[in-house]
Amino acid sequence: MVKVRAALLNRREVLQGAMAAALPFGAVSCGGKKSNVLQVGGLPVTCNLTLPVACVARAASNALAKTDTANFAYEYSKYSGWPEIKESLMAGSIQAGYMLAPLVMDLADKKIPTKIVSLGHRSGAVIMVRSDSPYQTFKDLAGKRIAIPSRFAVDFLFLRKMLARENMTPADIQIIEMAPPDMPAALYAKAVDAYCTGEPFGAAAQRAGYARVLRMTRDEWRNYICCVLTVREELIQKNPALVQDLVNHVLGAGVWLDARPENRAKAVAIAAGRNFFNQDPNIIQFVMDNPVDRVTYGDLRMIRAEFEELMELSLQAGTIKHFIPYERYVDESFAKNAQAASIPL
């Protein structure tokens, strides 16, 4: 226990150090104006790509702005797992973050004052198998070991949806929960027969040459959502203009990302940086290109029916125990009033 704690603490200290190192940069790019830096938590996954773009775009507009008025600034705060972001949001040590949609539903129901204010992406999850394996259809995975990040991840709902489509039940496969960064190695070592997770952990193995895509949300569940922008209710009450501005920038980032391939290349260069994902840019670029709609960002509309479908699937999976009304975990007002911010990159 002590060792685990120490390791987590170290990681956190390192992260804080990294954030501190990033801070002067943020302040400089704000042109020295009085700014209100909001930390937004996120994971280094392509489903969260709108966040680095929104942060950098806001800083760029701040640098361009001539007026002396106080403006907003966002800082990407990198986390290494969903539980860590969730706990920081619960404790209020961050006011905003990208979160798993069903987890927010559950938190809002358990009196943690959080609300979903925007989507962050669509699609972007894959089921990977080894290139040399005989599996061609999802049905071939019957009786096999499939890794997922956790039962509370939307990837698990994707897997269940595939099972239902093939008239299979969860008992027909063996589910293993594992941290996504470990999945490519586990597949390589044949510890699992397949894995289902968000990018870039599929692309990492595919690009390395030992894995191929069996199924992707692009073909099976185009409007798939996992990461959503979540804020604490205090922030909504205290500074709705800030939340609106953040939502505008996420929306703007999404439109910008899907507008032109050059934009995506710029986003890859930003996200691969040390202050953001700190990953191989070639792997992120691979996700962007193979095919171009492997993960999409252009349609961030909040649609009630889609959230209720996630709710229904979570109820069936047993990861949420009872129905939670849409209004309890979503605040649509920002998405409704959103105007895509311009991305001066």
Binding site: M1, K3, E87, L107, R151, F152, D182
Partner: protein, 257 residues
């Protein structure tokens, strides 16, 4: 009989009082701050009861004890002969000690990706992580035990003209035995300490898995704390068992001052 029981209760009373005070303070603090996250002791007890009732608690305990038991026994089987050899043969010590000192401070968490690559996901990986955590302290303790044998025992034996083999079997091993027992006690403590880290890659069972899974779930910190308490209690019990070994007559001579 009655008298000694009374004495034992009296000896335990202060620590029980501290535990009771801590639990009361925890309860009061949660109630005062009206935390929506931190569970009260009652909620933790309710969570524990929930696990007891559906039988999963014993499954988790059994799985963890199995992994720790196998990992620890493998470490004992590896560490004791190696430690004796390293203590007895200067060349072996000079060759191997730097490597073990290098490997010793590495947290089992750092070994996780390698464990998955080598042993896959199943029972073997957590057992390996437990093994790797507990083997080094036992090697060090055993080696140090051999090094600290009083010279006069060895000289006395030499005066009788015994062979090196007899010297090792009849003088060195009995002389080191108390140190080995201490090493085992430390090793088992470490093995149990790393159960949570080791079970980060476990297949749906174990107390470490219980904690990690409850953390992944929305707001189930009652089960996180319940898991922590169970780990603590079992750790106490395991240490108690190892202490019984220290009372054995073959080693008591060393501890009595």
């Amino acid at each position: 009989m009655n008298h000694s029981a009374m004495k034992r209760i009296r000896a335990l009373a202060p620590s029980l009082a501290v535990i009771a005070t801590l639990i009361a303070a925890w309860w009061v603090l949660v109630a005062v701050t009206q935390s929506a996250i931190f569970p009260t002791p009652w909620q933790v007890a309710a969570g524990l009861y929930e696990l007891l009732r559906d039988g999963t608690l014993f499954e988790h305990i059994g799985a963890s004890l199995f992994r720790v038991g196998v990992g620890f026994l493998l470490a004992v089987a590896f560490a004791i002969p190696l430690g004796l050899w390293m203590g007895w043969v200067a060349g072996a010590y000079a060759t191997l000690n730097p490597i073990f000192q290098l490997l010793r401070p590495i947290s089992p968490i750092a070994w996780i990706p390698i464990a998955i690559l080598w042993f896959g996901v199943g029972n073997v990986s957590p057992i390996f992580l437990i093994f790797i955590s507990s083997v080094f302290p036992m090697i060090v303790q055993t080696t140090a035990g051999v090094h600290s044998i009083e010279r006069r025992y060895l000289r006395a034996a030499e005066n009788f003209g015994v062979s090196r083999y007899t010297l090792f079997r009849q003088v060195v091993i009995p002389a080191v035995w108390p140190q080995i027992i201490i090493g085992m006690r430390i090793g088992l403590g470490v093995a149990w300490l790393v159960v949570v880290a080791a079970e980060m890659i476990a297949l749906r069972s174990g107390l470490g898995y219980l904690i990690i899974d409850s953390r992944n779930a929305g707001n189930r910190y009652d089960l996180v704390i319940a898991g922590m308490i169970v780990i603590g209690l079992i750790g106490l019990l395991l240490d108690g068992v190892m202490r019984l070994l220290e009372r054995h007559k073959s080693v008591r001579w060393r501890y009595v001052r």
